[in-house]
Amino acid sequence: MTLRWKFIVVAIILLLGCIFSLSTGQSSLSLQQLWHTLLGDGTSRQELVLFQFRIPRMILAFLVGGALAIAGMLLQAISRNALADPGILGINAGAGLTMMLFLLLQNSSTSVHTYVQPLYALMGGFIVVALLFLLSYDRNDGIVPIRLIYTGVAIAAAISAFMIVLTYILDPSQYQMIKVWLAGNIGNSNWSHVYAMLPWLIIIVPLLIRNHLLLDVLKLNDPISISIGASVNKYRVWFLICSVLLAAPAVAVSGSIGFVGLVVPHLVRQLFGRAHKLTIPACLLVGGGLVVIADALGKMVVANTEIPAGVIVALIGAPYFLYLLIKSDH
């Protein structure tokens, strides 16, 4: 199959996923109703459901999935380790912790807060990255990739222990809200969440595509990339910052959705090869599609409650991660 066809197939799957996502939910819309409402012929109720709830939710799922997938791909390129992922390295947990503190401190929920949320999450994300650097840095060897993973696992564990302490302070209703958010839920999203998420992607993704060759170079051996003339460590730091800038806002609007950043880059590499020129847009499409479909499945499985998308992605992603772990051999 040529690349063009692969892209077309992925796009078709994405489109079907979107239609699936738009038509499932509390009140089901048939395809016909969906089409009429899209064209503006629906009842006011249908329009409300579609334009105020379903469409922003779907777009948000897509953006979050894409952002997490690209963040994971960046981390894998930086650490030259196929098993890196913002969830495993603790970045999601850090962003989640500061978000949780933020949710605790806020008294009334106004829409202004939604735009500030990513900044809080960024704070947590950057603190974790700084810790990762400090703890996995070796004076002679630079950043030791294995150590990076151990440190990340430990940081994630530490943060979740701290979050458990926090859950004891909350009253049950607050708790249920935060729990659903933490498990990775896009359920209560509206347009303001989309607007809070979108700018980060619009700024970072083109920047990355423009510098795709640098990412390719980073994946080579350090001596080679240095001899080509790349100042490896500088770019490493830059791309690390980019990955936090993508992952943290995603966590802020959707909670922690793990395994997207791990599974999607692998799938994409198998489909589209290793050149980042192709894999960055492909990650956006596949990652977005995965979360859109997972979210729709979460809506569909049960009638009155929703299973958070993060739970469904973990149930699909963890086995795939294990498969990669079994296969990896270096």
Partner: protein
Amino acid sequence: MASNVHKSSLCRSHSENSPETIKGAKKLSFFLLVILLLLLLIGVLVLAMALGAKKIPFSDVFLSIFSFDEAVTNHQVIQSIRLPRVLAAMATGAGFAVSGAIIQGISRNPLADSGILGLNAGAGVMLVIAMIFIPTLTFTGSLWLCIIGAALGAGLVFSVGLLSKRGLTPIRLVLAGVAISSMLTALSEGISIFFSVSQQVAFWYGGGLSGIGIVHLQQMLPWMLLALLLSITISKSITLLYVGEETATGLGVNIKLIKSLSLLSAFMLAGISCALAGSVSFIGLLAPHLVRYLVGVDYRFIIPLSAILGAIIVVLADLVARIVNAPYEIPVGAVIAVIGIPFFLFLARKERRGL
């Protein structure tokens, strides 16, 4: 393994120190350590019973145990609340520590711990399922469900090792444990959100020893003791397994039997501890490593000492959890994580083997 090599070279260079004297010295220091740690444990127990939301003088603690008087409130508090609680903390600590020690021994992997390996998450899934579908389940029933769950989690992690070409290296074990834990946690999260019991489940995950009565202790104690005895009985063979499977076979160890027995006792210990105290990680890492540092790699010594040290750690941690923010409690698992995580990092930094 390194210390064994060290020991044998020591024997050769100093011919006046026969292996027997060294062995005798080790045994002596082992018994000294046991006595020392037991004294420490008793001290910690008394302290834990005296301190809390209500301070109780030491004299009352002793009196309530040795000459119980129903009319005195302090005696009532000790007998019905504090004593069961510290005993449960003791049992939990011993259980998690020994199960960690056993798994480290047979998998020859320094980073093995029931929390990291997915045993606790497996127990959690089973407990959530029980909470929802079998609300009438007895405590003993939930014990066994937790044991089965622990076996399930560990089975999944170890099968990753069996399936991969280079076996279960430490990093692979950790990553497989993380993935399986988060998968099982996602599963219990999904189920508990669906049936809206998620805060109860989260409390369980945090680990807490409040609300444990004498009844619970009576039900779990026989099984706990059985598993501990089993692990002590096979401890010599575990040492040989740690040295190497070929050596063990050469010395007449039935590897399959020993492995299954030690896994059985590890699952029982971890499962029962989970049922008592929730998902508490890192004790299985802390206690055995400290003990190994003191007595070397001999599981006849490691297992009993880990049990005592683990008990001390959890009783202390539970005390801290109760008094830091009294009269409210913080989860004991979080207290242990504060010590356990730096320790994990310390161990991991030494680990230079790749995937």
